[in-house]
Symmetry: C2
Subunit: 133 residues, 2 copies
Amino acid sequence: MTTQTAAERRQEDKVAFDAYMEQCPTHDLLGVIGNKWTSMVLYQLTRGPRRYAELARALPGVSAKMLTQTLRSLERDGFLARAVTPSVPVQVEYTLTLLGERLVPLLDAVQHFAEHNIDEIRASRDHYDAASL
Amino acid sequence: MTTQTAAERRQEDKVAFDAYMEQCPTHDLLGVIGNKWTSMVLYQLTRGPRRYAELARALPGVSAKMLTQTLRSLERDGFLARAVTPSVPVQVEYTLTLLGERLVPLLDAVQHFAEHNIDEIRASRDHYDAASL
DNA sequence: CCGAATCCATTTTGATACTG
DNA sequence: CAGTATCAAAATGGATTCGG
């Protein structure tokens, strides 16, 4: 055990680093808000509580499956709350929690940066793509 | 053409919304920084220029393919610059551009939020998972 | 040293049909 | 209305091999 090859040591480093990354809060959060529909759903909820069908109408691109999955994930993380009214038919309303409200300014900051720098980014992409002909 | 079914209208809405999302700067940026290795590479570069092998050593979990892919993508977007010194063997150094430097405070904000709220998020997850037994 | 190219596994996303 | 179930497709990530 005291003798290990360089390959073995690298393998151990990799495993250790993977473990570190999985418990890294920043990486965790980026994984959440980086999902395709998360920011869209959150944005809708900043404008007030929404029912399932309202969200589906506001986001015509999302399938029922992905909408449900996104909502469940955000509920699990504590960003929104799900309230069921047992009428017929049932009503389900989604609302931002306090934690969800605290996330909004951060998403605003992302939006602000994006809108102020997208032209430069797109110009860079065009330049890069043009150079590789 | 003046007559269309509800299904046809929904399909058009979906296509239009997809197009809108693809050109949405915020969604674009989230797609970039949400990638698995982007934030890690960027973080390394905030501490100064780094060579390819230095990055690979600092990030033991990344494969050569993904490191190259991440670097190329960030270069294309204009967040970092790639400088080749034609020695033997060649040296390649990656440095943050001004645009890249401007992105750093935003990533710091993400990190700040993540570290201050991760306990609450994890508690919510534990509670959610415990409830679904 | 710094990759490119290829092939394969995993994850994510979506279309469709069905249910209380 | 508010989902679930199933299947298929697409994007992403990674291991391996090879080259200037």
